[in-house]
Symmetry: C2
Subunit: 221 residues, 2 copies
């Protein structure tokens, strides 16, 4: 289970790539790999669907961390399945990895913690591989779908949306071109609300079609 999110913007002057994704990790205190971090996971019950097991793992995490929002990620999708013999020294384990996206790094009270996803601490088993595959998938999907919604609140400003693209793709995007392209795609609708601050207020938007939409091609501007 790879749970990813983006930290809030701290230094607006910092390069886009500096706002790196965070991943939810749990420290291991038993062998093997004691002291390393691991991605949360769990066994699938004998009569449990894969999605059901994912929900259960997330619900447990939410309880342990006193962060209810973890139980309802904004986006959830299956990634790869890993089954090399020897990936767990204790015996044969096949793991079906899932990607969960959250709108913000909610504070966690338990042992789980947010770690930088692009430069994580040492990870147990083949979890570094699993994490890398999740990040690749996320980056690829930003380009041809609306997955960005998974990393935002229900309503958001155009600058916030642009910030998600910049943070995940690791480069800056031209504001005017970004907005023009977005307007042409007709995916967003104004909520009517505004985000206020020590500056001109920004209109809030939402994705017109709640969930994931695949595009022919691409936000690359």
């Amino acid at each position: 289970m790879v749970v990813l999110t983006l930290p809030p913007v701290e230094d607006p002057e910092a390069p886009a790539a500096a706002r790196a994704p965070l991943v939810l990790a749990v420290p291991r205190d038993h062998q093997p790999y004691a002291g390393d971090w691991s991605l949360p996971g769990g066994l699938v019950g004998a009569d449990e669907g894969l999605e059901a097991a994912v929900s259960r793992v997330l619900a447990d995490l939410a309880r342990d961390s006193h962060a209810q929002i973890l139980a309802e990620p904004r986006h959830l999708e299956q990634l790869e399945t890993f089954g090399a013999p020897g990936r767990d020294p204790r015996g044969r384990v096949v793991s079906v990895s899932y990607l969960a996206l959250l709108g913000a790094p909610v504070p966690l009270t338990g042992r789980a913690a947010w770690q930088p996803a692009t430069a994580p601490p040492p990870l147990a088993f083949d979890h570094a591989t699993i994490l890398a595959s999740a990040l690749d998938r996320l980056r690829a999907k930003l380009s041809y779908s609306t997955v960005a919604y998974g990393l935002l609140a229900d309503s958001f400003t155009l600058s916030e949306l642009q910030g998600v693209y910049e943070a995940v793709l690791g480069r800056t995007i031209d504001k005017r071109n970004f907005r023009r392209k977005l307007a042409a795609l007709e995916l967003l609708e104004e909520t009517g609300g505004q985000r206020r601050g020590p500056h001109r207020p920004a209109s809030l938007y939402r994705f017109a079609s709640g969930g994931l939409v695949l595009l022919d091609d691409v936000i690359t501007t």
Copy 2:
């Protein structure tokens, strides 16, 4: 295991969509779903990797069908993992599906047979879902990668390559634009060989980089 290929061109006048992909299927003679067709598969051994199990299943198929080529598909990749309880009435089964591509529908001597993938006979279990997901993936991937190589021989003419795109995408493509784009991508190299027939000989090409290459975007012409 979804093994796909394309039939040879029969009527050059027929619309591109008429050359529909074929899928390798095996008739079931036991309950449940006796009389239906199923996708080939097998159990993963206790100390066997997933890829190793796939190779074994393919090798068995190749032996039963007297078609050695089945054991070495041109392309192989993991697809989705299916684990809903009740997908097999006999008990809990989790299936990791794989996509294998072949350059041609080799003749089969055993019980396995080629079936039209887009309008298959009744399929057992959730195999229709698995097949549909494989076709979706193949179509999507043609647009942003060189998977087409999986459905061709080692060397091929530009018209054959174009035929793969037309058959899988189900529409015709302009010959001159297709070739111009391909030239710009610099993915192909001439083998020096020629394909002869009752017409001007065609130069043979191969993909310069043996395997799969992902493109920024797209052959859409």
